[in-house]
Symmetry: C2
Subunit: 140 residues, 2 copies
DNA sequence: CTTGACTCCGTAGTCGGGTACGGAGTTTAC
DNA sequence: GTAAACTCCGTACCCGACTACGGAGTCAAG
């Protein structure tokens, strides 16, 4: 249980001090912890919490969802936590499905372009003109 | 070649008038077209261009990239257009790979939670505490 | 006891792709 | 001829997750 300054905590978690402050404002981390003199002191529990936040982000949870996950952890509500993970899983699967369609569309555009002679109506740009293309869901 | 008002064009493309104006500001659509009286008139070429933009967005191109694609179309540079589609394809494939990892991680979290008895250390929330998790790339 | 690094806190700006608002002018239908 | 609907244009605001900035206070090393 060694004490950390906010800067040391940031370095340990691989985030910036600004990010930690931002999480405090968002109530993901407490900003009313103990102080030594004028400066707040953090400890390993804070680091664990911070790492949890970053990993949950990697899984695609928003900060609001992560706040909820942390709350569920505190009240030990596993049913609800599992439901959130399940919902996220389904969302990811939907997204994978969309991206597969997009991949196929792009792949056929590319190969089609490769096999078309120069004076022909370039596929890439105008296959996109066809109707009944993919329905809309991009978001990168 | 029937003339359209901006409102009719918007309805035909399924976007809002505001969106069309926004694309004009971004130089994706021209805003110096002919007018009839005080109002600009649009025609099928504009509708085609607008649909192209929306379809390219569906494939995940940004508006800047779409501007570039439109430029390449004008100068008929198929090599570069194909390169952009190829790059986009690779990006999509990377993303699919990431999402597959995320899906697996979520799935194992969920099933693990389902098969753990209540007093045990709930998996969902603290598997996330393990080291060497996924490396960072979320973006929903 | 000074210097430099750090901390605290508040506010503002960034990105991308729009949406919203508001006032003034125009056009169309009745 | 007037009212409703539309257009034009500019500016401001939205989302999420930060990042940047600035001034003041504080702490640790030399």
């Amino acid at each position: 249980m060694k004490a950390l300054t906010i800067g040391a905590l940031a370095r340990a978690a691989g985030v910036s001090v600004e990010t930690i402050r931002y999480y405090q404002r968002r109530k993901l981390l407490r900003d009313d912890g103990p102080r030594q003199g004028a400066f707040r002191v953090y400890e390993s529990a804070d680091l664990i919490r911070l790492r949890f936040i970053r990993r949950a982000q990697t899984l695609g949870f928003s900060l609001d969802e992560i706040a909820e996950l942390l709350r569920l952890d505190e009240i030990d509500d596993r049913v609800e936590a599992r439901a959130m993970a399940q919902a996220r899983l389904e969302e990811v699967e939907r997204r994978i499905g969309q991206l597969n369609e997009i991949r196929d569309a792009l792949a056929s555009l590319v190969s089609c372009c490769e096999h078309t002679e120069s004076p022909a109506p370039c596929p890439i740009l105008h296959t996109l003109l066809d109707d009944g293309f993919l329905s809309r869901p991009p978001q990168r």
